[in-house]
Symmetry: C2
Subunit: 217 residues, 2 copies
């Protein structure tokens, strides 16, 4: 069975095409994300600590991105033969679909595998911890969010740079290149960058205060 991915000389024995439609795969992703957003928004609204809207949106971001790291990327990380799946497994369908934008997920490119391994094992669980830290107003909340955002930003940069260095030949059409590869990768650059700027400012203000106090007393 030939596959739709680029480059066409990529060898994927026993490849099985998508068994669910593109819209079905996107619909389940959308419904699941919306459900998580709704639950976190409701729960965070009842917090006795009176969380700001920004903090509540950040809790949603860390919940959604943490669950994607753990569940979606975790499935991929531990399923090297997902492209052979004949059972219609939802996650296999997701990665068969996404590989149209970046076939390195089907071919298990070593750089993608290393970046995803760290995302699944460390960044995912720590993202849920960041959500908890915001809810409870922990003192490590800002530095943890900064650290996770930097790992996401740097990981995504390497993700793009390695693709560019190898000739940017992993998307099957321009449509999938922009809608999957660029848009998905760009999300993990944009939001982490915004969060890093916010945390950087807060941490600098806090360090200035601590320096000042150390000098005064």
């Amino acid at each position: 069975m030939s596959h739709p991915y680029s480059p066409s000389d990529l060898i994927l024995p026993d490849f099985t095409p998508n068994l669910r439609s593109t819209s079905e795969v996107h619909a389940w992703n959308g419904i699941a994300s919306f459900l998580v957003m709704f639950i976190i928004w409701r729960i965070s609204g009842r917090s006795p600590r009176k969380l700001s809207k920004t903090d509540r949106w950040l809790m949603i971001w860390w919940a959604v991105s943490g669950l994607i790291h753990i569940i979606h990327e975790g499935y991929w990380f531990f399923s090297p033969e997902f492209y052979k799946d004949k059972s219609g497994n939802y996650f296999a369908e997701v990665w068969k679909e996404y590989s149209k934008g970046d076939s390195r997920y089907a071919s298990r490119h070593v750089a993608v595998l290393a970046i995803e391994g760290i995302a699944v094992i460390f960044v995912g669980p720590a993202s849920l911890l960041a959500m908890y830290a915001i809810a409870k107003g922990k003192s490590y909340s800002y530095i943890l969010q900064f650290a996770l955002s930097l790992v996401q930003f740097y990981g995504s940069s390497l993700y793009f740079i390695t693709a560019f260095l190898e000739g940017n030949k992993f998307a099957c059409t321009r449509y999938f290149y922009y809608s999957y590869f660029i848009a998905q990768g760009g999300t993990w650059l944009l939001f982490p960058a915004l969060i890093m700027i916010r945390c950087w400012k807060r941490i600098c203000a806090a360090c200035l205060l601590l320096d000042h106090k150390t000098k005064v007393y």
Copy 2:
């Protein structure tokens, strides 16, 4: 001309063996590092801000590691054919030597190239900024040191993980595997980890103080 690197089927046209002895290459590295350490130690000792010994050693670390990123790794990044060098260029000799521990520097492995590109262009100059920030007691000193250490730590982790995933076949002997690949890579894990722990504690203390002040006033 056949090369000494592993794997032996690696093709390096016009390879020229080391023209300087191993001890000469190591000696120049040692002398240069010692000179930078000596200069930074003396200058930082005269600072009117009365820097602690820890801060002075951190300035040395950021100076040495920043200069290695910019000069040594910068040479490698912009010299794809260093292994052909017949002029005895010192930096070409350094990388011909180090490639015995990791031939991916000779073959320009895509993951190493991406990690080094970021190190040369961003981490190197920002390391010198970190040295300046410590000297001047800037409020961004801790978060900048944390960010750079995290990038070094994560980059080195990916450096090791990608080698392991591809079968750890890039060192020509066990001696070079441990003395170059493990020892050198390990340095960029150990010191960044220690610096991250120190910055994390300081930033948490500062954020706790800022939270407290925000509540009181």
